[in-house]
């Protein structure tokens, strides 16, 4: 019989100790309560299979893939796409056709000779030739925009035929 008051006293002492270092509080739980019976564990769904999708290696980001080549070069005073660039364009067309959320800019460039605005229009002609080729290969018109940088952003800084050839170019920009 005496065990209960002792227990209570101990509990109160403990409560006093706790309250000494915190603001007075009404005890929320009865000091003595039977431990509730453990709820029965939910049955484990051991036949469920959670699918894991391994991220696709985007061929666009493969530095050795065909899509890493994004420049089409042109002859002097020419806006015709040379046959050697057909595989490159076909690869980009295939990729864009299967990734319709991708949009690209095709930036045309010229060499440094001639007027800035006229070269801008000539660069546009090169960009338009590339976009025309891509749409002919099935790319939606809304995915491609032909623009020109004219002679304003030369890739090669020189003033010789090698530099000019490097700058007569259209770049595909994802």
């Amino acid at each position: 019989m005496s065990s209960i008051p002792t227990k209570l006293a101990l509990v109160f002492a403990a409560a006093a100790l706790f309250s000494a270092c915190s603001t007075p509080k009404v005890e929320e739980k009865p000091p003595v309560a039977a431990a509730p019976a453990p709820e029965p564990a939910k049955p484990v769904e051991n036949r469920v299979v959670a699918p894991v999708v391994v991220p696709e290696v985007d061929p666009l980001n493969d530095p050795k893939g065909v899509l890493a080549k994004r420049s089409v070069y042109f002859d002097f005073d020419s806006y015709a796409i040379k046959d050697e660039f057909n595989p490159l364009l076909a690869a980009h067309a295939k990729y864009l056709s299967s990734h319709t959320s991708h949009k690209i800019l095709v930036q045309g460039n010229t060499d440094e000779r001639g007027g800035r605005e006229y070269n801008l229009a000539l660069g546009q002609k090169r960009a338009a030739a590339v976009t025309k080729s891509l749409t002919a290969l099935g790319v939606a018109g809304g995915q491609v925009e032909a623009v020109s940088l004219g002679k304003e952003k030369p890739k090669a800084a020189g003033h010789d035929e090698a530099a000019w050839a490097e700058n007569r170019r259209a770049d595909i920009v994802y």
């Binding site: 800019l105 930036q107 000779r113 001639g114 007027g115 800035r116 605005e117 006229y118 801008l120 229009a121 000539l122 546009q124 002609k125 338009a128 925009e145 032909a146 623009v147 020109s148 940088l149 004219g150 304003e152 952003k153 003033h159 920009v173």
Partner: protein
């Protein structure tokens, strides 16, 4: 005025031509200016020192002398000492020393901190006063006061409005830094209007002088903006699919003609000055670009390759049929029509050289104005007598100024980097 002019011209022819090579360089100049050559007639003028001009931040009489020298229209005689507009002058004595005109003046600091510059221009032949005036300005506008006096002297003695107080805007490139800069016509007083890491091309000054339209590549493609120079506010004028370029203001400032490739290849369109109201003006399967309104606003000159290589054409400002204007050579681009409507300036490629030409639209006489070979982007001074253009000197972009008769030339270069794409601003109050 007319009498004096014809007399001066006659005197000048009697004396024969002076060979003139003038050099001028201001300590404040960002652009270094060199002048070569001289006009068909050079009026001998004595410019005395202005009394008390050493009080002002800049020597007014020196700026005036440099302006008059650079114009090619004057032979500025050396003088000693200073003479104010209230001093008595011995005009027959000045005349005997070869001066057909004499400019004197003074500078006075006002209580409010401004400088009052007064001057008097004498005709030594008729012993009369041609002009007298006072210009008051805050210290930073001392140069402007001097340019305004030079403008008045120029107009009184030649009958042509002076352009010394006008400004030029151009693009400076230093590495990958592009700046749209504004200077006085003499290359001094530089102010930067735009700084960008991407190219800026084709600036075009609005007729009221408060805005410049230009092409910026900041969005990975050419887009046209108009920028208020005073407030710095930029308005997007055209950002259609494809290219947006070659802006040019109509003379009333209400419209901007430009080149867009939104419908395929580059064609000429016009929009209202706020970018609204798009209208297509050309309709070819080739390139139509570089539109420029005539000074009466009725026509648009532009570059087109409809006949093969690029040539200059003219059509109504509302579009429609175009007439070919240039026939010599296989590559004629960048048409600019003089404000007086008499001269068409353009760049022509001949024997592999890109050079500035002027076509007299009355006589159909063509004149090559330069000896350089990478000329680009001509722009007329508002008095129609000079053209500023971009060229290359030792593989660096520099600016040239040439008189429409090709006789007087100036070169404007910077210490480092390239300058290009000049546009000459309008007359301003």
């Amino acid at each position: 005025m007319l009498t004096l002019r014809s007399k001066l011209v006659n005197n000048y022819f009697k004396r024969g031509l002076f060979l003139g090579i003038f050099l001028s360089f201001s300590a404040h100049a960002q652009l270094h200016v060199e002048t070569y050559g001289f006009g068909a007639t050079q009026i001998p003028i004595a410019v005395s020192g202005f009394t008390n001009e050493e009080l002002a931040p800049e020597m007014v009489s020196k700026i005036i002398k440099d302006d008059l020298n650079s114009s090619g229209y004057f032979k500025v005689l050396n003088t000693l000492g200073s003479t104010s507009e209230t001093d008595n002058v011995d005009l027959p004595n000045w005349k005997s020393q070869g001066a057909d005109a004499l400019l004197v003046g003074s500078v006075q600091k006002l209580d409010d901190g401004r400088y009052d510059v007064r001057y008097k221009l004498y005709d030594t032949n008729k012993s009369s006063t041609l002009s007298a005036f006072a210009v008051a300005g805050s210290p930073q506008y001392t140069r402007l006061s001097a340019h305004k006096i030079a403008d008045d002297v120029f107009e009184k003695l030649t009958g042509i409005r002076g352009i010394f107080s006008t400004r030029i805007a151009y693009v400076a490139k230093n590495g990958t830094n592009y700046q749209l800069e504004v200077t006085d016509a003499d290359g001094a007083g530089l102010q930067t209007a735009v700084r960008s890491k991407e190219p800026i091309i084709s600036p075009s000054w609005s007729p009221d002088g408060t805005k410049v339209a230009y092409v910026s590549f900041e969005l990975k493609k050419p887009v046209v903006y108009a920028q208020n120079l005073i407030t710095g506010q930029r308005t997007l004028i055209a950002n259609y699919k494809g290219n947006n370029s070659a802006p040019a203001w109509s003379p009333d400032g209400n419209k901007i003609a430009l080149a867009l490739s939104k419908d395929g290849l580059t064609q000429v369109y016009s929009v209202n000055a706020d970018g609204s109201g798009l209208q297509r003006l050309t309709n070819t399967s080739g390139i139509d670009t570089e539109p420029q309104y005539s000074s009466d606003g009725q026509s648009i000159y532009f570059t087109s390759d409809r006949s093969g290589g690029p040539q200059i054409y003219r059509m109504s400002a509302s579009g429609g049929d175009a007439k070919r204007v240039t026939f010599t050579g296989s590559y004629n681009i960048s048409p600019r029509i003089s404000p007086d409507g008499q001269t068409l300036a353009y760049i022509s490629r001949r024997d592999g050289k890109f050079q500035l030409y002027a076509l007299d639209l009355g006589s159909n006489q063509e004149l090559r104005l330069t000896d350089t070979q990478d000329d680009d982007s001509p722009s007329f001074a508002p008095n129609s007598k000079y053209i500023v253009y971009a060229t290359e000197m030792a593989q660096r972009g520099s600016l040239g100024v040439v008189s429409v008769d090709g006789r007087t030339k100036q070169r404007l270069t910077t210490q480092a980097g390239d300058v290009r794409n000049p546009t000459w601003g309008p007359f301003m109050k």
